[in-house]
Symmetry: C2
Subunit: 162 residues, 2 copies
DNA sequence: CTCATATATTTAACATGTTAACAAGATTGC
DNA sequence: GCAATCTTGTTAACATGTTAAATATATGAG
């Protein structure tokens, strides 16, 4: 009787596992597995977004503005999971392209309020149906219930430190 | 009686789900969930890697060389999941720092063969025990069995297109 | 053998990630 | 009211991600 869990498969066994000087098997590491999974998912969306001439991050920003209305930069950084310096550049680019507008908060001069512009709404209307269709196809192929389970497991991993 | 799956929680319910013009709820999307989970995991490793003055990608490269011996650039790109242009820059940087060596393949002049240098082995010896310790702690906190389940689910997601 | 094609790597150009430092506007405590 | 401190956003500098194009070498058809 082995000490392996039922889910672990021998084809992934790590021959170097006994040598503490070497790292553990690259093929079964969470960081790379998460990266690969994310890349596989984004591969479905990226060509479509490229046809509409927006990046993944730009899409996240205008999509959140369409969902939530007016939000400040910090809130956007939280929701879109984009670091402040990146967000500064993305906001500049989106504003130059006329997809969003930017105002100073009257109550707090440090804050920058963001709002979607009509041109941005047009992009939302164009991209959203395609995006939903791609996501639904993905859900169907992977299994709708399993997507939910996976989302729960990922959320728990992301909030381990809270 | 609702049509929700048992795993989905009401706090994530999407009020915009009926409007096809709007994207679906940002909080339950796979791309962002994968990003958040990956960031949470890397947050455990990054400070340690920074103390040793290497990036996550540089660590992946020398770690694979320590595991696999001599590999060419394409194989490295596959294993480390790094795009060719990024890999070119990372190789240049690692070679300049003396952590790896680079040779032309005698049989195929296009190929670049990579090998870890003694200085690189020193980094492996320094970083590896710390990396393993961090990973083990993570496994313990999340649950060793659940990590295996998660890895299997992520692998399936990553190979949906094959 | 040679031309066309395919493969491996690099370069270029731009977007984003990452950390540190900075600037400007709020808050707090005295 | 004001100096110390905190918070928000920006800038800087460097590393990586992403796509397209260029370069060099191999391979295959004829």
């Amino acid at each position: 009787m082995s000490d392996r869990t039922p889910m672990s498969s021998d084809k992934y066994s790590d021959d170097l596992g006994h040598d503490a000087l070497l790292p553990h098997n690259t093929r079964r590491s969470l960081p790379i597995a998460l990266l690969r999974a994310r890349e596989a998912v984004m591969a479905h969306f990226r060509p479509m977004l490229a046809r509409h001439d927006i990046t993944e991050q730009q899409w996240r920003v205008i999509r959140i503005l369409a969902e939530a209305g007016r939000v400040d930069a910090s809130e956007m950084a939280d929701k879109a999971f984009i670091l402040a310096p990146s967000l500064t550049r993305i906001i500049r680019s989106l504003e130059e392209r006329g997809l969003i507008t930017k105002h100073k908060d009257a109550d707090d001069g440090r804050r920058v309020l963001l709002e979607i512009a009509p041109e941005g709404m047009r992009v939302i209307a164009d991209v959203s149906p395609e995006s939903r269709a791609i996501y639904k196809q993905l859900e169907t192929r992977y299994g709708r219930d399993r997507v939910e389970v996976l989302l729960d497991m990922l959320d728990e991993l992301a909030t381990l430190n809270d």
